[in-house]
Amino acid sequence: MVEQFEIFVGFLGFWALVLFVVTVWLEMTGQSALWWALGLAAVLAAMGGLWALRRRVLRRHTDDAEQ
């Protein structure tokens, strides 16, 4: 379960990197980067959510094991 979360985080991480590079490049060349930056924010939010979910699953798993 945790493995699948991590794979998905990595998958989103790649696209976050792509969006980051494109956003920086557009900013540096003086072009509009708003939608790319919003896309990057959405992907980062999704990554954060997934990571929080992963931690919750891990904690529940640890609690179950202790009980």
Binding site: Q4, E6, I7, G10, F11, L12, F14
Partner: protein, 293 residues
């Protein structure tokens, strides 16, 4: 009592007639439909490849006006076709791509499957994301980059992007195989005095041969069929067959040489068909290896 009552009945019962298995018939019909669906374009390619140019658009299903002239046209350098050279180029690009992707992929897959480090699965997800990157988005930046560094039209201009396309497949296939391999083999080798590197080289790698072989063939087919990048980054001297076919010149000017193109397509397909037929067993063994423990 019940037993004695049933015994004579079973002894005298007429032999059961074998029931007609509709399920099996359905399976065969489905297999036949898939087979025809997949092979029909290849059949049409071969039939047209052997058809006289004057009858290119003959819609007869069976071979008619059979000739070998189209295959001669394919290799006719006076028409501007350099198909032998193009075949060699494809072999170089696909061969080098396969070797590099395998060497890097085997080590990466072993590390991902056997070593414990943080964010191991995130790395796999990252590779999965990279494999889904649309190739067409890379053409323009690569064109600019390779022009700037003077690599346009060189072999490495095609090999490096091809490696990036085949590497995710290599890593994924091999990782799943390495993960299912019993740890005990490696531990026994370590106990017998092998270093981790020796255990990998002498024990793990030979056992992974079927999976490695399958991955090599899949990577080779992928690199051999690559068109998009090669169409933009190759030159006359380094043009692979997939692109060369698109530039084909026939015997008549201003006439698309469909029959020669089909002949070239047939020639290009032959090495792949031979490769798959010869190593069919190894491919199946490699693909199913690690499926069950």
């Amino acid at each position: 009592m019940a037993a004695t009552a049933t015994l004579p009945r079973t002894a005298t019962a007429p032999a059961r007639r074998k029931r007609f298995d509709w399920g099996q018939v359905r399976t065969y019909i489905s297999a036949l439909i898939i087979l025809v669906w997949c092979l029909l374009p290849a059949y049409w390619m071969i039939v047209t490849a052997f058809r006289d140019t004057a009858f290119t658009f003959d819609s007869s299903f069976w071979p008619t006006h059979v000739t070998w002239d189209n295959f001669a046209t394919v290799f006719d350098e006076s028409l501007g076709n350099h198909f032998g050279r193009n075949l060699l180029n494809s072999l170089i690009v696909a061969g080098v791509t396969t070797v590099v992707a395998l060497v890097v992929g085997v080590f990466a897959a072993y590390a991902l499957a056997r070593l414990n480090f943080r964010f191991k699965f995130a790395v796999m997800g990252f590779i999965l994301g990279a494999s889904m990157f649309p190739g067409v988005a890379l053409v323009t930046p690569l064109f600019q980059l390779f022009t700037n560094i003077g690599w346009m039209g060189s072999y490495q201009a095609m090999i490096i992007p091809d490696i990036s396309f085949t590497l995710p497949l290599t890593v994924y296939t091999l990782t799943s195989f390495f993960r299912e391999m019993p740890w005990e083999l490696e531990e026994s080798a370590r106990i017998d005095g092998c270093t981790q590197g020796q255990a990998f080289r002498k024990i793990i790698l030979p056992l992974a041969a079927p999976a490695t072989f399958t991955t090599a063939i899949l990577a080779f087919i992928g690199a051999w069929n690559e068109f998009l990048i090669a169409s933009q980054l190759s030159s006359d001297a380094t043009r692979p067959v997939t692109v060369a076919i698109a530039y084909f010149a026939g015997a008549q000017p201003h006439q698309e040489p469909y029959t020669a193109v089909m002949a070239a397509g047939t020639i290009v397909t032959v090495p792949l068909v031979i490769l798959v037929l010869v190593f069919q067993r190894k491919i199946v063994a490699g693909l199913t290896a690690g499926a069950v423990k």
